[in-house]
């Protein structure tokens, strides 16, 4: 297949920011002067002035029509700065960006809305800012109102809109553009599910004809639309490539929220020991058996065996699977209770998982003890997937002649 044209080309892109406002403003004045007397300050490039740091450092990528780059990274990693450079709002300090075609940037939806004007008036303003002509807006205004689903309130001042409604209206206007390059910064998070699905549908329509740069903290969204990942850390590319799952996993691996949390404790039971395959922070292969061993101490003696519930979570803290105990009648002599749970052939995909423990009375389900993030374990596998389960399957694919 013929490769499509490159729409975005980013070469050695770097940008400095200043940590101190006063200094920053002063540098601004200097930059103003040096920009007028061009061709000076060549030697200053690439050198940090006092109190400066690299907000974006040495970023390179190429994006063709029909491709989507998922830009991920922690807060303050330089994602938005990169987007602002791509959108031409600020100039890079080093390197070069070459963009072909019409750019549409959804950095903040509804920017420029005037709160005391009505929705309809703001459609015209926002449309004008985005580069539409009056005729174009006249033609599209009904479509925009329908897409945003705010017809009832379209002649009401925008200050009375909910934040979700504003975003809807902003997106509806922006969605009318037919860009060659689409830049999306975490803007869809405010809308409700119905709206997000609608946005995705719109993006899916645009994608084949567009090069998309998509920023989000929601990995499901990233995984859904991107076909390559740029993971930024402190302005630099920590991971870059077409293996989306690998990129997402490297993003997750930077978070260690593995602190044990006792959410509820009525004082009768305490967890003394826990292990997975005899270890803490165990690592096992996908398809191995998972053996959880818990040791609990009871402060009161005549207690029935409680109901034990274990819930597994993936790195995004999504509950993905659970096991719970059957009712058993065992008398225990000691004050201690040893619980071992064997889960055969665990099919979790590669990644880090945790589990929560909850202990409650069998009869009325009143809680006794609840601990989140009891233990962390890692599953290793040859294939990297970003979904939590890699199921076993028998495949049969046969050819069949045409009837």
């Amino acid at each position: 297949m013929e490769e499509k044209e490159v729409l975005i080309k980013v070469e050695n892109l770097s940008k400095k920011f200043c940590k101190d406002l006063k200094t920053s403003l002063w540098y601004g004045v200097k930059d103003l002067c040096s920009n007028i007397i061009t061709n000076k300050n060549h030697d200053v490039n690439g050198v940090l002035r006092l109190k400066e740091f690299w907000a974006v450092k040495d970023i390179n990528f190429e994006l063709r029509r029909g491709e989507c780059l998922g830009l991920i990274g922690h807060n303050g990693a330089g994602k938005s700065t990169l987007l602002k450079i791509l959108n031409g709002l600020i100039n890079p300090d080093e390197g070069k960006v070459t963009i072909k075609g019409r750019v549409c940037a959804l950095i903040e939806l509804g920017a420029g809305f005037n709160p005391i004007l009505t929705g309809r008036e703001n459609i015209y303003n926002n449309g004008a800012v985005l580069g539409f002509s009056r005729n174009e807006i006249d033609l599209k205004v009904e479509e925009i109102i329908d897409f945003a689903e705010v017809r009832e309130f379209i002649d009401m001042p925008v200050q009375n809109y909910s934040s979700g409604m504003k975003v809807r209206l902003g997106f509806a206007v922006a969605a009318q553009m037919q860009p060659d390059v689409l830049i999306v910064d975490e803007v869809l998070a405010v809308g409700d599910l119905g709206f997000i699905l609608k946005c995705f549908k719109k993006m899916d329509q645009l994608l084949p004809h567009t090069a998309v740069v998509f920023v989000s903290h929601s990995m499901p969204m990233i995984a859904r639309v991107s076909n390559q990942i740029l993971f930024m850390e402190k302005g630099e590319a920590a991971f870059q490539g077409k293996e989306v799952s690998k990129g997402i996993n490297s993003y997750y691996s930077r978070f260690n929220s593995s602190d044990q949390n006792t959410m509820f404790d009525d004082g009768t039971v305490s967890l003394i020991k826990y292990s997975i395959n005899k270890k803490n922070n165990a690592t096992l292969q996908r398809g191995e058996d998972l053996n959880i061993e818990l040791e609990m101490e009871f402060k009161e003696q005549n207690l029935n065996i409680p109901f034990i519930y274990i819930e597994f979570r993936d790195k995004e803290q999504r509950p993905i699977a659970a096991v719970f105990s059957e009712k058993m009648n065992i008398e225990f002599i000691d004050k201690k209770l040893i619980v071992s749970i064997k889960i055969p052939k665990v099919l979790f995909a590669q990644g880090v998982y945790t589990y929560d423990l909850s202990v409650s009375h069998h009869e009325n389900k009143t809680p006794i003890l609840r601990i989140n993030n009891v233990d962390v374990f890692q599953i290793e596998s040859e294939t990297e997937m970003w979904v939590p389960f890699h199921l076993e399957a028998d495949w049969q694919i046969t050819g069949k002649p045409n009837d």
Partner: protein, 281 residues
């Protein structure tokens, strides 16, 4: 169809001519945007106000009133102005307020657009153009008021008044040129705006706004140097049908403004990304 290629890099080693061409083509293509922005601001300005349009001329009128009272009560004795003093002072303060508005317009509009400047890439020249639109619309009411005074005080309408619209546009042109140079620094430091408004309030007394140029003395020299003097005097004299002094200075000033305006536009254009980078929003 050939796609437009945009390049962003540090050393935008561009020729001033190319920048100027881009600036003008952006200004031309952003007519609708500029109009829309102007309509937005004018609507918003009046929708949230009961007195609405009165605010456009209340300040110059009240300044004029103070001077009329000072003069009538004999506290100040002023040289004869050739027209009834109230007309002289009203026309002076109204025209002066147009000058001030014109100088402040680019900065006010650019500052008001902070929210979109840091989020949407649009032709920034639209802000300048919308400022001009707003100036014209806000000044129209002042001009109507001025004509009203001319008739009430029996100064009458002279044929030279037909040239007044041109002189009015010249004021806007002059003010915008100055404003373009102030804006980039003013966006970075609040001090600039304050210094400008302070300076202008002093400058008013070195301009024949509320009194004529004295026959001799330091003030006469100052007033004759002050570039706002020919600007204001010529416009006012056209209104009153009086003899126009300082005509050479007036045309010289406007001629000097033409290259300055072009340089100002280019300066504005290259400074916006630097400002966006340094400002909050």
């Amino acid at each position: 169809m050939e796609l437009k290629i945009t390049v962003y890099q540090k050393t935008n080693n561009k020729r001033i001519g190319k920048l100027l061409r881009e600036s003008f083509s952006d200004m031309y293509s952003s007519r609708f945007l500029a109009k829309q922005l102007a309509i937005r601001d004018i609507k918003a300005q009046y929708r949230q106000s009961f007195l609405g349009i009165i605010w456009a001329f209340i300040t110059p009128l009240s300044t004029a009133l103070v001077w009329i009272i000072l003069s009538n009560s004999g506290t100040l004795s002023l040289t004869d102005t050739g027209v009834p003093y109230p007309v002289f002072v009203f026309s002076g303060t109204l025209l002066w307020s147009i000058v001030i508005d014109a100088i402040n317009a680019p900065m006010l509009n650019t500052n008001g657009a902070r929210g979109i400047l840091s989020k949407i890439n649009f032709p920034k020249e639209a802000l300048i153009l919308s400022g001009v639109y707003k100036l014209i619309s806000n000044s129209l009411i002042k001009i109507v008021l001025l004509l009203f005074f001319l008739i009430v005080y029996k100064v009458g309408l002279h044929s030279s008044i037909l040239l007044f619209p041109l002189a009015f546009l010249a004021i806007i042109f002059f003010g915008t040129t100055i404003g373009l140079f102030i804006t980039p620094l003013g966006m970075l430091y609040n001090d600039v705006g304050k210094i400008v408004s302070l300076g202008l309030s002093f400058l008013m007394y070195a301009t024949p706004v509320v009194y004529v140029i004295p026959k001799s003395g330091l003030l006469k020299t100052l007033m004759e140097i002050n570039p706002l003097t020919p600007l204001l005097l010529t416009t006012r004299n056209l209104l009153f049908g009086q003899h126009i002094e300082y005509l050479a200075y007036y045309f010289g000033l406007l001629a000097a403004c033409i290259p300055l305006f072009f340089i100002g536009l280019v300066f504005y254009r290259i400074s916006i990304p630097i400002i966006v980078e340094r400002m909050s929003a």
